[in-house]
């Protein structure tokens, strides 16, 4: 149950985490997943491909990322995702929101007596 709830929280965070990965450089599906795996460590299981690709396509429809293809090494083009200016702005807002949530938790639940 706790694990399930954890996953729900992470899924809520996932668009922010994906945009944050793309902040460093444009990346492709597997590259994004690997970057998230490194960042999330033991909790990496919450990032499943069945969640990641629909999320990337949704971010693209919302113009927060754009995609382009480049010739790949495996005989087929590779699709890259890149954060847009709107994506930058959205990420900034999201990070600020999470910072406020974190500060709120620090002041309340995590407060040491």
């Amino acid at each position: 149950m706790a694990r399930n709830e954890n996953e729900q929280i992470y899924k809520g965070l996932l668009d922010t985490l994906v945009l944050n990965v793309l902040l460093a450089e444009p990346n492709y599906g597997f590259g994004i997943k690997e970057a998230l795996r490194e960042q999330l460590g033991d909790d990496a299981d919450v990032v499943k491909e069945a969640t990641l690709y629909p999320l990337l396509h949704r971010l693209e429809r919302k113009a927060l990322v754009l995609s382009y293809r480049q010739p790949g090494d495996r005989g087929t083009p590779r699709k890259y995702y890149k954060i847009t200016q709107a994506g930058h702005n959205y990420l900034k807002q999201q990070v600020e929101t999470w910072r406020q949530v974190s500060a709120l938790l620090d002041r309340t639940i995590f407060k040491e007596d």
Binding site: G29, Y53, R69, P77, Y80, Q85, H88
Partner: protein, 328 residues
């Protein structure tokens, strides 16, 4: 009934060039393909991305010590159920179809309505044209709905389920570094010649009609003027197939019939996509962008870029120019 199968015209078969030699991956790709909507080119966009991921994932697992077969099976298992990905692609296409249906259908029907209103007698006949507007309203409304539905369906179907983005071409190595070239495919140029002849012919007929000559003479000044402009816009706009963009480390070079521009990359301020209506009435078939840059005197300049999916590397150019503008 699996309606998406109707969109797989003209070829239902799996594109065998995507076979990888790994049994688990190949079977997964075949199963996925069976659930996807669209022509081979449209389906390949999803299949290629999936294939790339599965092969990368398999290689990573092999590097960890697994056998190729076991790695392929695990990569497929962790990628998730085929139906989840297939359903997502179908829903995405469906949303695009509805958006395009409304956009193309309403635009075309409005244009046709405008033409009907400009020349009621040739559209409805002398007798009906003599009646009041209110009496003709049901006929006009029915025609509007028919045009919106028919043309909207035709165009949105093509755009959603048939049209495929041109394959990316490798960057060209030169003495001054790599150059990203954006240019149209040969097939697009043939289509552009056809469009130029047809639309140019319509435009010239209407121009003749404006002076009372030829078979368009009876259509009236307003309709002839509108069709002359539309025909000329499409005929001239077809020349976009010969536009060429070259992006080097230092500059973007634009070559088109209207001229030759060189914009230093360091001077690029922004790349703004024009509205649908601006692209619709602008000369050049494709999406219109305003490339804003600053000249040596510090004055802001704007160059119009027209890019479409039939051009190799057009998506890479947009991404790079936006990144250049962002970095500034």
């Amino acid at each position: 009934m699996k309606l998406h199968r109707l969109t797989r015209f003209p070829k239902h078969a799996f594109p065998t060039e995507l076979d990888t030699g790994n049994t688990a991956i190949d079977q997964y790709l075949r199963d996925l393909d069976a659930g996807l909507a669209g022509s081979t080119g449209v389906r390949k966009m999803t299949l290629e991305e999936t294939r790339d991921h599965l092969l990368e994932s398999t290689d990573a697992l092999i590097a960890q010590g697994q056998s190729p077969d076991a790695a392929g099976q695990q990569a497929v298992a962790s990628f998730g159920a085929v139906e989840v990905h297939a359903k997502e692609q179908r829903q995405e296409r469906c949303k695009l179809f509805i958006t395009m249906f409304l956009r193309f259908g309403l635009t075309f029907a409005t244009l046709m309505l405008l033409m009907s209103l400009l020349s009621m007698s040739s559209f409805l006949g002398e007798e009906k044209a003599a009646r009041g507007f209110a009496e003709n309203l049901p006929t006009l409304a029915k025609t509007y709905l028919f045009n919106a539905t028919f043309f909207g369906f035709f165009m949105s179907y093509w755009f959603t389920f048939a049209f495929t983005q041109a394959k990316p071409a490798p960057v060209k190595p030169t003495e001054d570094g790599e150059v990203l070239e954006v240019y149209s495919q040969k097939g697009s140029k043939y289509a552009a010649v056809f469009l130029f002849i047809v639309m140019g012919g319509i435009s010239l007929s209407c121009l003749a009609g404006l002076f009372g000559w030829g078979y368009m003479a009876a259509s009236g000044i307003a309709l002839n003027a509108l069709l002359f402009l539309l025909g000329a816009q499409m005929a001239i706009g077809a020349s976009v197939a010969w536009d060429r963009y070259e992006l080097s480390q230092d500059a973007l070079t634009i070559r088109s019939f209207t001229g030759h521009h060189r914009v230093p990359r360091a001077a690029i301020v922004d790349l703004v996509e024009r509205s649908f209506w601006r692209s619709f009435i602008g000369v050049g078939i494709g999406k219109h962008y305003a490339l804003i840059w600053q000249d040596e005197a510090g004055q802001r300049q704007t160059v119009n870029l027209v890019l479409n999916g039939e051009m190799h590397n057009s998506d890479s150019l947009i991404a790079t120019l936006k990144a250049t503008a962002c970095d500034r």
